[in-house]
């Protein structure tokens, strides 16, 4: 199976966007080769602004660009964007509802060897709590490119969560991403596995494990965490009667919490959340960490069987 890192797709998408949209400017905090904003810098250096290791000022500067009519994309690692510059995102972007796109790379455990200080596991929770903010976690490179273009067309703040490692390509070239719409990747009748980001491909693997045991699992990709596709989530819960959420994020406040909020009020069904269980990460290889923290196809399958048993 082909694979591409979502950050690589981001760099490509930015450079393509730069050609058709002269309004786009890109801000960076000394990580351009890692976040891939260097792809944009190569072709449009006059619209690229390296703001140095000063994320708070970068985010505030992006807000100023937006107030003056530009469409800024600001990038750094997720831990520095949503964490270090939270106040600036809140007060200078979300509160005045300014048209800034925050593309945060190296989110989650798969940062790997850099360890827990750099593994951002709570950014979805922080960003989705902000009024006016749209939060998107693409599942693969194909979706990422469309997300970047859709974000540029949307008037308002968008947080886009991207990853470091290569991830399997799930979508064909005919895929059409739409902000706020989830996608059923595989139909099923016994349980619905709802994934976001890199955990969508793990959910697909889990569905295969379950199929081998005669269990029919549906798989849904929820790339837009906010606004959440409540209609699809409720329909799937009604259809299958059990739900497992899968995210490379703490189980406190992320996709699992968002889905639980919708289901509890509309269609309570047995549910489990696969994610990091209220812990910080540690150094290790990405695949080792995903396994250790339970972000694996086998754990998703085990949780699926447990929720089916509660029906």
């Amino acid at each position: 199976m082909a694979s591409i890192a979502t950050r690589d797709a981001y760099g490509e998408a930015l450079a393509e966007l730069g050609a058709v949209n002269e309004n786009i400017v890109v801000l960076e905090a000394d990580l351009s080769k890692s976040t891939k904003t260097s792809d944009f810098k190569k072709v449009y250096p006059e619209r690229f602004f390296n703001m140095g290791i000063a994320e708070q000022n970068m985010i505030g500067t992006a807000a100023g660009f937006a107030a003056a009519g530009k469409t800024p994309f600001a990038s750094t690692f997720a831990v520095f964007a949503a964490g270090r510059a939270y106040d600036q995102i809140r007060n200078s972007i979300a509160y005045p509802n300014l048209n800034v796109k925050i593309a945060a790379t190296h989110a989650g455990l798969t940062v790997g060897e850099d360890g827990g200080s750099h593994q951002m596991l709570e950014d979805i929770a922080l960003m989705r709590a902000l009024p006016n903010m749209t939060v998107i976690v693409p599942a693969d490179g194909i979706e990422t490119k469309q997300v970047i273009k859709a974000a540029a067309e949307l008037e308002g703040p968008v947080y886009i969560r991207l990853g470091r490692p290569k991830v399997p390509v799930l979508f064909g070239d005919d895929y059409k991403f739409e902000i706020g719409k989830g996608v059923v990747l595989k139909e099923g009748t016994d349980v619905t596995l709802i994934g976001t980001g890199i955990m969508v491909s793990k959910a697909m693997e889990a569905a295969e494990l379950l199929a081998a045991e005669g269990i029919s699992a549906a798989v849904v990709n929820i790339s837009t965490i906010k606004p959440l596709d409540a209609e699809l989530i409720i329909a799937q819960a009604q259809k299958t009667g059990a739900v497992v959420t899968c995210e490379e994020h703490t189980i406190c406040g992320g996709l699992g919490s968002a889905v639980a909020e919708v289901l509890v009020e509309n269609c309570p069904v047995p549910m489990a959340r696969v994610g990091v269980e209220d812990k910080f990460g540690e150094s290790g290889l990405p695949d080792e960490l995903l396994e250790k923290y339970g972000l694996s196809a086998s754990n998703i399958a085990a949780k699926a069987k447990a929720v089916i048993a509660k029906k």
Binding site: G52, A63, Q88, S92
Partner: protein, 269 residues
């Protein structure tokens, strides 16, 4: 406007500040009164704005980085014609567009929402960069508090403004010497302020922030300084013009009662 008219305008703005904060029973009079001449000069003499078209793309822009001084900004904008002066009495009340801190989505003429200290100056940097990129000839002005510059973000912004040679950015520091907990030197000294901005690569002037001629000369000199941003350190008096508020840190964030308002109106005749 001649200097006498500017002085009269600033005095009217001061009366409005006291009345607004008094009616709201909360707010920040001290640091609003200290910045009255700076804002009066900018909006009535210097800045190219169209009150009838507040979002005009080629306007000069203003960011009140010390957002708690909202009363001086609102009074100035109202008298400049951005919205009716009568609305000033609604400050901080439920349903009013005059929020406790400036909200660009609600108030015509407010170019940036501020209040969390240190954030405004970065947004001014972004505006100045956007204007530079578009080769526009307008200017971006910001007013910082001397307590506010304790925020690290201010110095990130200062570094970036000099790096990008933002000679279309002019920052005033309202140097009234006081913050909520007392004298800035006792709380956490930002001094020497001028030398810090010089070290960060800015064109720096120190003036009397209540003297219109000095403000005018400083803005002229700032515009003449090419290739670097300008800081104008304006020595001011917190609570200026109201006898019992002058140089009193206690009037940073408290409202006068009816008797005190009457005394203030007497002082500001």
């Amino acid at each position: 406007m001649n200097e006498e008219m500017l002085k009269e305008q600033a005095k009217q703005i001061r009366r409005d500040i006291v009345n607004m904060v008094g009616a709201a029973k909360s707010g920040h009079p001290g640091g609003s009164l200290s910045a009255a001449e700076i804002l009066t000069y900018l909006y009535f003499e210097e800045m190219n704005v169209k009150p009838e078209e507040p979002k005009w793309a080629d306007r000069d822009r203003f960011v009140l980085s010390k957002g708690h001084a909202a009363p001086v900004l609102y009074a100035t904008l109202a008298h400049r014609g951005f919205f009716p002066v009568e609305e000033l009495g609604t400050l901080r009340k439920l349903g009013s567009h005059l929020q406790g801190h400036p909200d660009m989505k609600k108030v015509p003429g407010v170019d940036m929402s501020t209040g969390s200290l240190g954030t405004g100056v970065s947004t001014a940097v972004g505006m100045a960069l956007a204007c530079q990129l578009d080769k526009k000839e307008n200017y971006v002005y910001t007013v910082l508090g001397d307590g506010e510059i304790q925020e690290g973000q201010v110095w990130e912004a200062a570094m970036s403004a000099a790096h990008y040679k933002l000679d279309n950015l002019i920052a005033f520091v309202d140097n009234n010497g006081l913050q909520i907990d007392g004298n800035i030197d006792d709380v956490l000294s930002p001094n020497p302020i001028d030398a810090k901005f010089v070290a960060f690569g800015w064109h720096v002037q120190v003036i009397d922030g209540h003297d219109f001629q000095q403000i005018a000369d400083a803005v002229k000199a700032a515009k003449a300084a090419k290739g670097q941003p300008s800081a104008i350190i304006a020595k001011t008096v917190k609570g200026k013009g109201v006898s019992f508020m002058e140089n009193q840190a206690g009037w940073h964030g408290s409202a006068p009662n009816a008797e005190q308002i009457a005394q203030a109106m007497e002082d500001l005749k």
